[in-house]
Subunit: 222 residues, 2 copies
Amino acid sequence: MTTHSALRVSPRQTSFARIPNHIGVIPDGNRRWAALRGMDKGDGYAYGVQPGFLLYQRLLEYGVREATFYGFTKDNNKRPPRQRSAFTEACVQAVAELANRDANLLVIGNTRSPAFPKELLPYANRRVSFGKGSINVNFLVNYDWLWDLHCARRTGRLASHLIPRVDLLVRWGGRCRLSGFLPVQSVYADIYVIDEYWPDFQPGHLDAALQYYSTCDVTLGG
Amino acid sequence: MTTHSALRVSPRQTSFARIPNHIGVIPDGNRRWAALRGMDKGDGYAYGVQPGFLLYQRLLEYGVREATFYGFTKDNNKRPPRQRSAFTEACVQAVAELANRDANLLVIGNTRSPAFPKELLPYANRRVSFGKGSINVNFLVNYDWLWDLHCARRTGRLASHLIPRVDLLVRWGGRCRLSGFLPVQSVYADIYVIDEYWPDFQPGHLDAALQYYSTCDVTLGG
């Protein structure tokens, strides 16, 4: 973590008292965003890819060392086929594009299910580094919290054991809930909810979340 | 659940579109409340018992069928001895008083640790009914999320398996985090945060939380 990109700013130059090591990202609201515009709900996911790169760039600038994006879940697979194709394609596109940038990539999800996109198998359950490896970027793809916990029962460790504790969990789309996002790693996470839908991401959203986090005392339940 | 106390109001008579089956309660802020008043931090816990009964009464009136109170945790045991005595005593007092009322009581926590108050052993890991049994009231006492999950690894079920899914989690004291509260049962819970410290509980806080819950769509991650 001693490398610096031209755009990277030392955390000391930011106005935040503390920068979380690991941020969880729940990019919710794609379907509501699309419906508001008279589009098919599933069409919203394609508009959720570019915001992820804006956020990624901002995380790099602020020196955040790890981020986990909630791609899609086993629960999400109950949705209509058109939506399933759309969110799967958005995940594949996001990971493929990130593979050309500066990140240590990791995809966690149940690869034994046909819902897992085969394009992402090279990154599944192992970390693959690109560029200077300035940040760990994890995607939960066909993730299932119960599968994650059952893996721990069977093998003694979570399927997601390569992902550390989440310090700050930021959710777009106004809902204040985990929706099964890494239940073990999130036990102590501070949660910040942004009302705007994910495709309307603005860098200021992250700033607001980091400002909030700076006011939280970290007690780890103590 | 067909019994009715004189004070019980049918949910149909309330203004809420939906009443959650199971509410989780994180009564945080006792120490900050005490410190604000120049008291020893630990003295705040004693002021947190009566608010619990005000809330319990309101839950009965609204027909809520189950509530789980976050008593204290293994993490909390790192605090100074005076605080430990105070929160343990508050839990014992709350359960003892509730045993004279109308509730199916259950205490979940690690009874093999000396931090578990022996006065609560009769209610530990089994439900004991009082009065008409109109509501299930659970207390997490010397609870430890990791102990809960490890129990599942060892035995195939959570130590807290008698506690069902949490629909709405209400936390007092302004912080938006689970702090290890029932990680499995809370995966889909809608979280509502009240800024006031727990000893300043007002029935209107519950109303606000229920109003919020009425606006949430329950998708269970789907």
